[in-house]
């Protein structure tokens, strides 16, 4: 099995397409970092308009931690599309190329190949996330320095002490890996149903966009289905950055406001991953390889 994973990884990283996502993430992050470096105070001022009516905020608000949060908010919506580019091509791309029949006439079963491909795609996804974390977090920390994380949410502000931030990012990135692996598995499922690359890639992207819209629109009818949509849960990495308060309204260091919400989301995402991958295996096992 390890041989198959190695082969699949080898193929992924020999393809120029693989590096598009790494390049795109780097370009997006650098552009945003540059923009915030040049004009970040205006952006922070805009965000803090309401707060400044009441309070004066003293300190380095626009520090690496906040920049990373802003980047993740923006990018974790788009990275799934980049993940789809590879994941949705894993099986259908080879079917299209005609090489799938070469793989499936080796002594390894189709289940082995599908799982190896999924694991390889997952490793790619995780590497993409690590790359994102490196650029968004560590490079931002290097460029903008660190300070407390002053987080402006829709209805309230959270001020997390500097020493209480990094582990939250670790948690958020682990959570994000589940989100992105759900996308990987969805792309994989689409890929198993097609013999061309474009269909599954567009299909996966469309599904993500469609479900994201359903998840974000606050319409009562949609609210009924929201808890079952993986896109609703994908965004819950943010829960790592909401903190509990005691009766005196003092934030409790090291606490997370809604751990059950994170657990539920992880559970829902994991179930989606298992469901999508199992379905892919079943489809591929039953499929006649005609390409």
């Amino acid at each position: 099995m390890w041989s198959l994973i190695q082969i699949e990884l080898y193929k992924i990283f020999r393809r120029p397409r693989t590096y598009i996502a790494f390049g795109a993430i780097a370009a997006l992050i650098v552009v945003i970092q540059l923009g915030l470096k040049i004009d970040g105070d205006a952006y922070a001022g805009f965000l803090m308009k309401d707060i400044n009516d009441t309070l004066t905020v003293d300190g380095k608000v626009l520090n690496g931690y906040l920049i990373c949060y802003i980047l993740l908010q923006l990018l974790l919506v788009h990275v799934p599309l980049l993940v789809a580019l590879i994941a949705a091509d894993m099986i259908s791309g080879e079917a299209n190329l005609g090489t799938l029949r070469l793989l499936f006439t080796t002594p390894y079963s189709r289940t082995h190949w599908v799982l190896a491909k999924f694991i390889a795609a997952s490793i790619y996804t995780i590497l993409l996330l690590i790359w994102l974390a490196f650029l968004a977090l560590f490079v931002s920390m290097w460029i903008f320095g660190t300070d407390d994380l002053f987080l402006m949410k829709s209805n309230y502000v959270v001020l997390i002490e500097q020493s209480d931030v990094l582990w939250r990012y670790v948690g958020a990135f682990v959570f994000a890996s589940f989100s992105l692996l759900t996308v990987t598995s969805l792309g994989f499922l689409m890929s198993s149903m097609s013999n061309n690359s474009i269909g599954p890639i567009v299909g996966t992207m469309s599904a993500i966009v469609f479900f994201t819209i359903l998840s974000t629109l606050n319409i009562p009818l949609f609210n009924l289905v929201k808890p079952y949509l993986f896109t609703t849960h994908m965004n819950n990495w943010k829960e790592f950055f909401d903190i509990k308060v005691n009766l005196n309204n003092e934030a409790i260091k090291g606490s997370i406001l809604n751990i059950p919400k994170i657990k539920t989301s992880l559970w829902v995402l994991t179930m989606h991953i298992i469901l999508f991958v199992t379905a892919s295996v079943i489809i591929i096992k039953k499929k006649d390889i005609l390409s």
Binding site: Y10, G98, T105, Y108
Partner: protein, 301 residues
């Protein structure tokens, strides 16, 4: 021992019967020619042999074991190319062989990779990316992939596609070498019968999913069973003359033209009969190749 044993396999794609109740056996050490026009069901049959397609009915055994139940063990001993030589454009010839050597349970020596590339005449392009290869070179690499792990059964689907005459001759020689020198069983399909008749000891012709004929090549090419086409100014009169003569049993029913199946030495007598009956004979053509046999069978069907 039968290396391949196919019992009454059929494959339906909806209403289309791609393969219809086909049975055959391939013995160890044989070069088995699997002939059919494009779309006749050859590739579907080969894909079923390799478990790429699940048969709608019937049973396939390779090396005495069911392919459906013993896939991994069987495919360890099989090397195959199926239809087009589809490869990874971003990998080199050597990288392809390394990659496919890696998926074998038995370790493939690095020297075998070099040897295989030499065998198919690709050693000089070993490190070039496949995207720069011609169709013929890809075909050679496809064959190399089928051979690299030293399998005992080699299934080659249209191996000469895209090859120039020299390439075709090379592949023919390679097939003969594999069977005679290395004792391998070779299952080779083609729609170009002239290629097969020179290498195969046994031939099966499939048409529209059905097995039309199967037999040893030497029997199918027996000079006693030549197909003779008579070209006259008046085919109807010629046919009537033959029907009323002793040649009547040898007439082959064809939509167009006058065909008979008879030994070569009977041709002068046939000519005499026609001339005596006042028929202007333009020519009598005795076809002795399997190509004609194939055309004959498929045009009859």
């Amino acid at each position: 021992m039968a290396v391949i044993k196919v019992d009454n396999i059929s494959k339906h794609f909806g209403a289309l019967k791609a393969v219809d109740d086909v049975s055959f056996e391939v013995q160890a050490g044989q070069v088995f020619g699997f002939l059919g026009q494009n779309g006749s069901g050859k590739s579907t049959t080969i894909r079923m042999l390799l478990s790429l397609i699940h048969p709608s009915s019937g049973n396939i055994e390779l090396f005495g074991k069911s392919i459906l139940k013993n896939r991994a063990v069987i495919l360890e001993q099989v090397g195959a190319i199926i239809e087009r030589p589809d490869l990874y454009p971003y990998l080199s010839a050597t990288e392809h062989l390394q990659l496919f050597a890696k998926v074998r349970k038995q370790k493939v020596a690095a020297s075998n990779i070099t040897k295989t590339l030499e065998q198919v005449g690709l050693a000089h392009r070993a490190h070039d990316k496949v995207q720069s290869f011609s169709l013929g070179m890809k075909q050679r690499l496809g064959i190399a992939i089928a051979l690299v792990h030293n399998p005992s059964l080699i299934i080659l689907d249209e191996p000469t596609n895209g090859l120039d005459p020299q390439g075709i001759a090379d592949i023919r020689a390679l097939i003969q070498h594999l069977a005679k020198e290395e004792g391998k069983t070779v299952f080779v399909s083609s729609h170009l019968l002239s290629e097969i008749e020179q290498v195969a000891n046994q031939i099966l012709i499939i048409h529209q999913g059905k097995k039309m004929v199967e037999g040893l090549t030497k029997e199918l090419l027996d000079p006693e069973k030549r197909v003779v086409q008579i070209k006259t100014l008046n085919d109807e009169q010629a046919l009537a003359t033959i029907l009323s003569s002793s040649f009547s049993p040898y007439i082959l029913p064809r939509k167009e033209g006058v065909f008979l199946k008879l030994p070569t030495q009977a041709i002068p007598l046939l000519n005499d009969t026609l001339v005596k009956a006042g028929i202007s004979v333009i020519g009598i053509e005795a076809k002795n190749s399997l190509e004609d046999y194939f055309l004959q069978i498929t045009s009859n069907a």
